[in-house]
């Protein structure tokens, strides 16, 4: 399911009379279990590419295959289901539900998946321990530091055992200690759970963790090298 193939992806945005290039004939293959960094200056198309792969936005042309599914052709409902069951998202600004505790945030996605309550409860505690938040399960997001909130977001993303985690500038709001903790966690999850990671970043510290570094500029891939 989890190998990703993008062919000739193009995406443009209209802003007034101006046409802005988001993606310009992008080809990528990402195999199961890879740990990939997308780097490039701001505006180079990293987010646009992640959104396309994650089924949040459809490209103007080109193909996106995930295993044998053409996700750019999926309807809204099946696309949402695919995100729910196969893809985990980590956003720059955590995006936790403010009125739910760390544990409830993690459980919420499982509930939507239809996981029974007892199992939800056990798994959420387990995963929060795994991301290093033991003892903070009942805190609300506002009572957690940025690094801790991002860990809750990671826990939420991986608790459903996705094939792929897409992280968009996950360290942008973190100090360097928190950032390196988060990256250690990503590496560990990648190794233990064989979850594929694609991380968009322009943070040098993050790139140093990559085992494959893809550089983008003006919506094009300008280099793609193993590290």
């Amino acid at each position: 399911m989890s190998s990703i193939r993008c062919r000739q992806l193009c995406k443009t945005f209209k802003q007034g009379d101006e046409i802005i290039t988001g993606l310009d004939h992008v080809d990528i293959d990402i195999e199961e279990g890879e740990f990939v960094c997308l780097s490039g200056p701001s505006g180079s198309g990293k987010t646009t590419l992640l959104n396309a792969i994650g089924g949040l936005d459809t490209p103007d042309s080109g193909e996106i295959h995930m295993g044998d599914i053409r996700i750019d052709r999926l309807e809204r409902g099946p696309l949402a289901d695919m995100r729910l069951h196969h893809i985990g998202f980590v956003f720059q600004s955590y995006n936790l539900i403010p009125v739910l505790s760390a544990r409830e945030n993690v459980e919420f996605v499982m509930q939507v998946q239809g996981v029974p309550a007892a199992q939800r409860s056990r798994k959420s505690l387990e995963i929060l321990r795994e991301v290093g938040l033991e003892g903070m399960e009942n805190r609300r997001p506002a009572q957690l530091s940025g690094g801790q909130q991002q860990r809750v977001a990671v826990a939420r993303a991986i608790v459903t055992h996705p094939d792929l985690v897409l992280a968009d500038e996950p360290t942008a709001n973190l100090d360097s200690v928190a950032a390196s903790h988060l990256m250690d966690l990503f590496v560990e999850l990648n190794q233990h759970h064989r979850i594929t990671f694609v991380i968009a970043t322009h943070d040098k510290r993050v790139m140093s963790y990559a085992r494959r570094l893809i550089k983008m500029q003006d919506g094009k891939i300008i280099s793609d090298e193993p590290q």
Partner: protein, 411 residues
């Protein structure tokens, strides 16, 4: 983990802006309380209206000749009315059953003449079915066996320019189309507040009436007053059973005897419902406003949830669940408020300025008491709840227009 995460999320979302939520819930509580109060009082006043008008004269049920209702002619009479009345009183163990006979006559005093309905009554049982005997303001009511006595309405007395102790002659036609005439002494003048009765009704003793109008033992109606308006239907069934299939006697329900009463109530209900609808619409708009604001300010959050794989239907359900929780709060607290007000009013009654004058004039009670019933307690709150849920559909369904990326970009 007894509470579902979705339910907990909905509940907590409500209190993110607790002032705004309480304002909306407060509007529901107020409207529910007001609707319960107004409807209970309204139903209470209908009960009072029905009770008063039926108690005044017509009773809850009447036994008549089958054709008498449509054509109240003297010849459509029942045989042996006094005996039937006696039998019914015994079999039903109910004293408030009284026989009447009625005819039209021209009444003349020394100075003037007026047409009137002259009714023969049983002076012992008539006070049990009708308030009229108790409304004699001058003189006294008829005595049993007293031939040659009459009581008349106050307006008629004024028109004829007579008072208690004066004599009156009347002229009509009897059962056998013979000439019926009598000279009677006015012993009492009643004032009922009901124009028809005060202007054109006179009562004499039944036996005397039967003599003068050559009716023998006949009469035109048996008036039945139930102990309570709620007993009327069961009483009706009992009387029907006693009459078996006697084709010569029809049993009339008060709605047949006074069709205008139901119509008046229905007209009043219709005009009141307009106000109720306005109130419900106002609450619905308040819910619409609250939920629309609450959805708009959470656009980003909804975007995140959609990115995680939640479909719009689930988000809509969340918004509806939040509305349902608010509505439930408003419902429970509103009904509680309404109940407290009602219980208080059912002790002390309700009156508005000037009501006592009207009451005095028309022989109504000076206070209205609320009728606390399932309908009066729940009809208004149910309408408010339905209106609120309908209003929330718009903000809830708008979520179907959201796409995760655009929603997440919203501030």
């Amino acid at each position: 983990m007894l509470v579902d995460v979705g339910l907990r999320l909905a509940w907590r979302n409500l209190w993110r802006h607790w002032r705004r939520t309480w304002l909306t819930v407060g509007a529901m509580i107020f409207s529910n309380g007001l609707l319960i109060f107004a409807m209970s009082l309204q139903f209470g006043s209908y009960d009072m209206m029905i009770d008063n008008s039926l108690h005044a004269y017509s009773g809850h049920l009447q036994l008549q000749h089958p054709r008498y209702l449509d054509e109240p002619k003297m010849r459509y009479a029942l045989d042996n009315v006094a005996a039937i009345a006696e039998r019914l009183r015994r079999e039903l163990s109910l004293d408030s059953i009284s026989a009447r006979a009625a005819g039209f006559a021209l009444a003349s005093s020394e100075e003037r003449s007026y047409g009137l309905q002259i009714v023969g009554v049983d002076p012992v049982h008539e006070p049990l079915v009708s308030t009229l005997p108790g409304l004699v303001k001058q003189g006294r009511y008829l005595k049993p066996g007293a031939a040659g006595e009459i009581v008349i309405g106050a307006v008629l007395a004024r028109n004829l320019k007579i008072s208690v102790g004066d004599e009156l002659t009347f002229l009509g036609s009897g059962f056998d189309d013979s000439f019926a005439a009598g000279i009677v002494t006015v012993v009492g003048i009643f004032e009922s507040g009901m124009a028809d009765l005060d202007r054109a009704l006179a009562q004499v003793e039944l036996g005397y009436f039967q003599d003068v109008f050559a009716m023998q033992d006949r009469g035109h109606s048996l008036i039945v007053r139930a102990r309570n308006i709620d007993d009327v239907e069961s009483l009706q069934a009992q009387v029907k059973a006693l009459l078996e299939s006697n084709q010569d006697i029809s049993l009339r329900h008060w709605e047949e005897l006074q069709p205008g009463l139901r119509q008046a109530i229905q007209a009043d209900m219709a005009s009141n419902s307009f106000m109720y609808v306005v109130l419900v619409v106002l609450v619905a708009f308040s819910v619409l406003n609250t939920q629309l604001m609450s959805v708009l300010e959470r656009t980003r959050e909804f975007g995140t949830m959609m990115a995680l794989g939640l479909q719009p239907a689930r988000l809509s359900r969340l918004v509806m669940l939040e509305t349902a929780l608010m509505t439930a709060l408003g419902l429970v607290l509103g009904i509680a408020v309404g109940l407290v007000v009602n219980l208080y009013l059912s002790r002390v009654g309700f009156s508005y300025p000037g009501m006592d004058e009207v009451a005095l004039k028309f022989n109504l009670p000076e206070r209205i008491y609320p009728a606390i019933s399932l309908a009066s307690m729940t009809l208004g709150p149910a309408a408010v709840a339905i209106g609120s849920l309908l209003a929330a559909l718009y903000p809830a369904l708008r979520l179907y227009l959201l796409t995760p990326i655009e929603a997440m970009r919203a501030v």
